[in-house]
Symmetry: C2
Subunit: 404 residues, 2 copies
Amino acid sequence: MQINAVIAQGGGPTAVINQSLIGVILKIRESEKIDTLYGAIHGISGIIEEQFINLNNEKLKTLEKVAQTPAAGLLSTRDKPDPKYCERIVNIFKQMNVRYFFYIGGNDSADTLRLLNEYTSTINYDLTCIHIPKTIDNDLVINDHTPGYGSAAKFIAQAFIGINYDNASLTGVYLGILMGRHAGFLTAASAISSKITSGGPHLIYMPERAFVLDDFLRDIEQAYKKNDRCIVAISEGIQNKDGRPVAETLIDMPEFDPHGNMQLDNGDLGSMLSNAIKKDLGVKRIRTDRFGYLQRSFPGCISSVDSREARAVGEKAVEFALKPGRSGSVTIHRVGNYKVKYMLSKLEDIGGKTKSMPDEFINSSGNGVTEKFIDYVMPLIGEAVPDTAVLDGLNILKHDITTS
Amino acid sequence: MQINAVIAQGGGPTAVINQSLIGVILKIRESEKIDTLYGAIHGISGIIEEQFINLNNEKLKTLEKVAQTPAAGLLSTRDKPDPKYCERIVNIFKQMNVRYFFYIGGNDSADTLRLLNEYTSTINYDLTCIHIPKTIDNDLVINDHTPGYGSAAKFIAQAFIGINYDNASLTGVYLGILMGRHAGFLTAASAISSKITSGGPHLIYMPERAFVLDDFLRDIEQAYKKNDRCIVAISEGIQNKDGRPVAETLIDMPEFDPHGNMQLDNGDLGSMLSNAIKKDLGVKRIRTDRFGYLQRSFPGCISSVDSREARAVGEKAVEFALKPGRSGSVTIHRVGNYKVKYMLSKLEDIGGKTKSMPDEFINSSGNGVTEKFIDYVMPLIGEAVPDTAVLDGLNILKHDITTS
């Protein structure tokens, strides 16, 4: 009887998630243990709907192009399975004699595999489940970092380099709102621009520190007085000290009354903070950008390191699946400055857990990052971002504060 | 007596505006007619505040790095001069014996030069004013296109390529709101993604056509039914048939009452359109991005053609200033497919005027572009965007409608 495998992709896309997919496909082609590798379309939902494609038939040339295509080549899903869902998956797998299941995703996908693994143990069906990490949020525990983060960080760094010069050109306050509900890694990546340009961002607010509006306004006032401009990076997930989202707390404040004049873009964090700055500091020119979805699937500035590691976790997944042949999650561990090694960690140690920025990466004022974070993040963005410079005759930009 | 020149940059930055600056600086170094070239800091405001730097002193190595740095290397301004302001500028110029003034900017900057030129004629002060075009909006008349547009178009094209795969992965409706109050060129550039991926954007709305909410909802319904997803690019400047901004008209509608439940992000076009789609079509997953400022100064994906032409208009400006030696605006004209030639046009023909998308570039339904526009825009983005592909086994993306 043929022994088969299934691969699927779950959760939000990244710019390099397909490198992992192609890593698995090509590595399996080298093995004689697995006959056919099927791709499930739209994650685990493609399994229960029996939407499969035979990946043995894909041409190498196409695969290498898919590898450098952002977002999920097999399409994705947000489905979270319950025990019934697991049962249906395993029933399909039994019919197809699927003995290996590779799932590329974040901590939700790892948790799906944990559930599936528990279920197959109870019914004595031999299924090796391998979780392959990806997430731009960089919030998987045990991992030094996750595939997808390096490229998103590079996009953010480049964007803030551009914003730094743009904001110097026309001055004023700039607020950039970045993804990340619980972990500030993406927002912190903006600091790469200060490192490279010795300009902005001048202030960085991450969800790991309680946000105090008054401190925020004083920080901006101080930076603005010093530089006649101020660039701020803010996580959309910032919360007050009681753990309430800041956007929600601002609506409650008298000056943000939904029927009053101050209210603009009800519920929109950027607009509300912008209004507060206008009112409190009297700064006229304030620009706000919400980075949104661009950073997770932009094909133009992929990190070479991220790309290489995303391919490697796919290859390693197949190696671990065949030997030792037990279920688990491929994890990335940093060795020196800069190499990585890959290990197989337990699914229950990854699934459903969230990593935050460690204290040593956040400055004592809670409004910026440390040099340690810069040392951590720089190797992940790969080759340097484009070289930029200021005219020697122009001292203006040199008065900038740094974030450390 | 020494003969001197001044250069300044005005208006919103672009990714290649400094190529023009460096083009002027290096070309003037070849000439013996001009002794010192001064850079005015923050556009014309730097002239009246006598904030100059001597550009003769800048090192070649720095200049070449500045050339590839986005945004205004000499910093910028939004100042629009009145006759008094002009008088003050010319008084400073007289003291410094400035006989050539180069101003890199859009139609406002051209208009500033026209004013200045008129004033110097009346007082018989010999000043050659050369306008050097730049604007991501691509809205200068006479010009086939303007430096800055190609790089912004490339950023938008790459972003939509990423969005195309992202939206295919998790399906739903995606709305991308792009800059452009009067001209739809930037929004139209999203169509490059449909050309390359044969995916989205499926619908494009430009300010050149009156926006009708009901038609918009029917368009999306149709596209969504066909593809189970829909990507839409919308100019922030869209207006109804009476010329009122759409965001304003939506607030007036009963379902967008500022005190009602439907109201969210008061005044924010993307949120209001998103609510209308949710209510009318019952689509659950709708994502909205406002591209904002990223597209105009992102250093990572500059068009090589745009970069080269931006340098050339700076060089040509110096050539035109010295021979024939009259004031004017450097304009770009397309010859064949694809070359350009540069001419000196009259300041009054450029200043304060705005070009829109010609009819032949917009489809008959007013919700997309034509092949003619694609033929027009493709050469401007330079080298091709990164190669992407879909797995051969995956037919899903192939059902996409095209926008033509």
